[in-house]
């Protein structure tokens, strides 16, 4: 077995460990009748040990892949996103050591699972580095960013637990709507994973030619039945799906099709859950957070940000600027990825001022923590895949 095979297998082990740990944490939380989180109980410990084992194999994946590729495995969408899943779990492990809170694990682990599954939808073969990435700053800059984002995401998890407890799911409110919207968007990611896996497994391919923005002929391969067609497309592969709608040249209809399929499958899945459970997903999770200590969740959410914010500043702004000066001759160029790192930083700066200066604690703080995570995910997904720039990897 080659090093890269070992690496891939370790990632599988990590994935399944997290999957098992999720359910054990769920059981631990439901079984915790006393309602005190210092007494985590036997099942909490077991779940934590499984998580720790998964995290170690995840680290194993990371370093064996580093050995196999010859560079820090942080250079494309698959590698970065997988590492983000790892640091998210790492952030939770630190929090668990400090506060013994199985309920955070019950939220973090499924999200980490979704992130790893999302990552594996991107090409994962060992790929060479372009000249701009050949630098030791790749390891320094990107690893600092991914660690910072893992820590900041832990804050969102604590915020989510807080909201699940305080938001009244029986009364119509803005809060109820948005909390459920978060749940729905997580289901959409699952929809993306399902639909991508299905069409990859069945080997669906449809080739088209089209006219691009510059007015030149270009070719494209769809890996999903085309809902949207490229500008002035011609269908080359027989017996494939004919697009419903043709789009303008500026739209990448292939990516739009992926989004549409994910929305479709995710929404069907969500509808099924609602039909079977006859409850909102957030309401389904309510029993798990019944005994949550709100003050503790608020504290964790804040702690994670005061640790994550300086690390993020260092990684996503300072190290980023140093490397940009070396590689691109300027420390700042308003590239979309740079701008979104700044947006993320400004957002957390606003969070800290609101919390420390205006006394925004508790629910307001929890909402901000969750929004911060949404910004990080936007930077990861939309900026890489939709808004093209120097940092586009996939």
């Amino acid at each position: 077995m080659s090093l890269s095979d070992i690496s891939a297998n370790l990632l599988y082990v990590a994935f399944f460990s997290y999957l098992i740990a999720t359910f054990v944490f769920g059981g631990a939380v439901k079984g915790n009748k006393e309602g005190s989180f210092k007494s985590e109980g036997k099942w909490g410990t077991i779940a934590f040990v499984i998580t720790l084992f998964g995290f170690l194999t995840h680290l194993g994946y990371f370093f064996t892949r580093w050995g196999a590729t010859g560079h820090a495995p942080l250079s494309n969408m698959f590698e970065f996103t997988t590492a983000f899943g790892m640091t998210l779990v790492g952030g939770f492990i630190v929090i668990y050591f400090l506060y013994k809170t199985p309920v955070i694990g019950m939220i973090v682990l499924p999200v980490a699972l979704l992130i790893i599954a999302f990552a594996s939808m991107f090409p994962s073969e060992v790929s060479p580095l372009i000249p701009a990435l050949q630098s030791s700053w790749l390891a320094i800059h990107v690893s600092t960013v991914v660690i910072a984002e893992g820590i900041l995401a832990t804050s969102a998890a604590a915020g989510l637990v807080y909201l699940l407890k305080v938001v009244d799911m029986n009364k119509k409110s803005k809060q109820r709507f948005w909390l459920e919207a978060i749940m729905y968007s997580l289901v959409l990611v699952l929809g993306f994973v399902i639909v991508s896996s299905y069409f990859t497994a069945t080997g669906y391919e449809a080739e088209f030619t089209y006219v691009d923005v510059k007015g030149e002929n270009a070719a494209i391969t769809y890996n999903m039945p085309a809902i949207f067609g490229m500008n002035e497309y011609t269908q080359l592969t027989k017996n494939t799906f004919t697009p419903f709608i043709e789009t303008a040249a500026v739209v990448n209809a292939s990516k739009l099709t992926t989004v549409a399929w994910s929305l479709l499958v995710g929404s069907v899945l969500y509808a099924l859950i609602r039909l079977i459970a006859r409850k909102r997903i957030a309401a389904l999770l309510k029993p798990f957070v019944k005994n949550v200590n709100l003050q503790l969740m608020d504290e964790i959410g804040y702690r994670a940000i005061i640790i994550g914010f300086p690390v993020f500043t260092l990684g996503a702004l300072i190290f980023a600027m140093i490397w940009a000066q070396i590689a691109w001759s300027r420390f700042w160029g308003w590239d979309p990825k740079e701008v979104w790192a700044l947006v993320t930083w400004l957002f957390y700066a606003a969070y800290l001022h609101l919390r420390l200066g205006k006394g925004w604690q508790g629910e307001k703080s929890a909402w901000l923590g969750v929004i911060g995570f949404a910004i990080i995910m936007f930077n990861l997904i939309a900026v890489n895949l939709i808004i093209a720039g120097l940092h586009s990897y996939a």
């Binding site: 890269s4 196999a68 590729t69 090409p123 073969e125 060992v126 790929s127 060479p128 372009i130 000249p131 701009a132 050949q134 630098s135 923005v213 303008a248 040249a249 500026v250 005061i306 914010f309 300086p310 500043t313 260092l314 702004l317 300072i318 600027m321 000066q325 070396i326 590689a327 691109w328 001759s329 300027r330 420390f331 308003w334 979309p336 701008v339 979104w340 700044l342 947006v343 400004l346 957002f347 700066a349 606003a350 001022h353 609101l354 200066g357 205006k358 900026v383 808004i387 093209a388 720039g389």
Partner: protein, 551 residues
Amino acid sequence: MDKMQCTCGHVNPPGTVLCESCGRSLTEVEQNKKLVDMRYEGTARRSQTYNKSIIDKIWNFFSSVKVGVSIIVALLVSAAVGTILPQEQYVAVPVRSDAALEAYYSDVYGSIGKVYYFLGFNDLYNSFWFIALVGMLAISLIVASLDRFVPLYRSLKNQRVLRHSSFMNKQRIYAEGSAAPDSMEKAEAKLKELKYKVSTDKNGLLAEKGRFSRWGPYVNHIGLIIFLFGVMLRMMPGFYVDETLWIREGETRAIPEAPGYTLENKGFDVETYTGENEEAKFGEALDRVGTVVKNYQTDVVLYKKPEDALPGETNLETVKEYPIRVNQPLKFDGYAVYQMDFKKDELKTMTFALTNKATSESLGNMTIDLINPEKEYTFDDGSVVKLLGYYPDFSGFENGEPQTKTPLPNNPGFLIEMKTPETPNGETSFITIQNTVEPFGDNDYKLAFQSVETRDVSGLTVRKDRTLPILGLGGLIFMIGVAQGMYFNHRRFWIQQTADGEIMLAGHTNKNWFGLKKDLDQVKEYAALPAYTDQQEEIEKLEKEEAELTS
């Protein structure tokens, strides 16, 4: 407004809430509160004191946290909107003009692009209003910091050991009760052991730890201001150089904005991954995406004019030979030269044969250097070809005159006159690639194309940025300030004992009350002090009970 003298005799600046010295409440509102507001030690902040003149109003505007956060959010939102469509610097238009850019946005992105351009989002980060927002942020950083730092500093400097009982019993952590006569000494010893700085006065003590953490926010704001100042400084001449240098293989050129330095291009190379040997592991990826570039490299020699060179002297000292690669710029004397771009296979020379059209007999070859062509080319038999006109990037005729689009030899055109022993009057011909025009009728001779030589051109960027140390300093100070303010906290205890043994104790921290209580628990146990209460928790408990009763 007048200065405020406290009953203890200390004269406070107007607007003070708690006496800087003894801590008595100086306003009626404060006197009626259950707990004192310790945020800024009850000091007189300018923004809370004056609100008359226009300067007061501006000061108060910028010192407000609400305004500061609003500016941050405005910057955040507009910066994000600026990424929806590409910025104009990343847009490819043949000729850079406002009209061309406007047309580009509306052609490619339709009405959204039109609106985007109209609102100035196409060049958002250089737009007046974006820069104005950053400027407002800088002002807010300075004003808000001064408004808080100055009085806070004064107050902590003037604080005295013995505080008034109304100050003590309105602290969040408070204890009173009798204790043994040696309690004070024991408490002092324990507090010193816990690394508190203890000062005593008559029957009281003040123990303090981590005051420097109070300056954290101001330190990090100073870091940010230094950073923004550094960015502004780049607009000053001499601080910042950003030039492009296109240099052909074999050429030596002066480095723009770097007097005395010249650079020779020994050769340019693009290397791609082969997928063989050690790169075999990349095979799968290369099959999927096609070619991937491994290296862009220009081998250069840097020369310098000697310091003592006479004017007109052409001797150059070799400074160094260096392979410039992406991520490995050439550095010298504060400058850096980067590998940024390249052009493969630019035409270098073209070789023609002077040929008799009828017999196809060649009189010999001539080679035209496309950068520095000669005026005349002479052949062994005395024939001469004169170059009447050279159009390196021929783009067509205008009023019968051949035109060149650029000075680069992309599509060379030659207007020539050929004189041979057979045609002593000369024949004129206009030659471009694969096309010959004979404007004055059929010629007997022609220049038959033989071969070309090509070479690569390196696109280098020359930079000097003397603001970098300032930016680095700003970043460093910011990080220090953040760590200082976030990971340390300012803890204080005030303890007094009256002659009859009664102890009064108060504690305060700017954050992490849990840590403060842990310290106090140790002191309390060691010195047998009375039990303390967290008065804020008491108040919250009471409020909760009241709320439950009323509902």
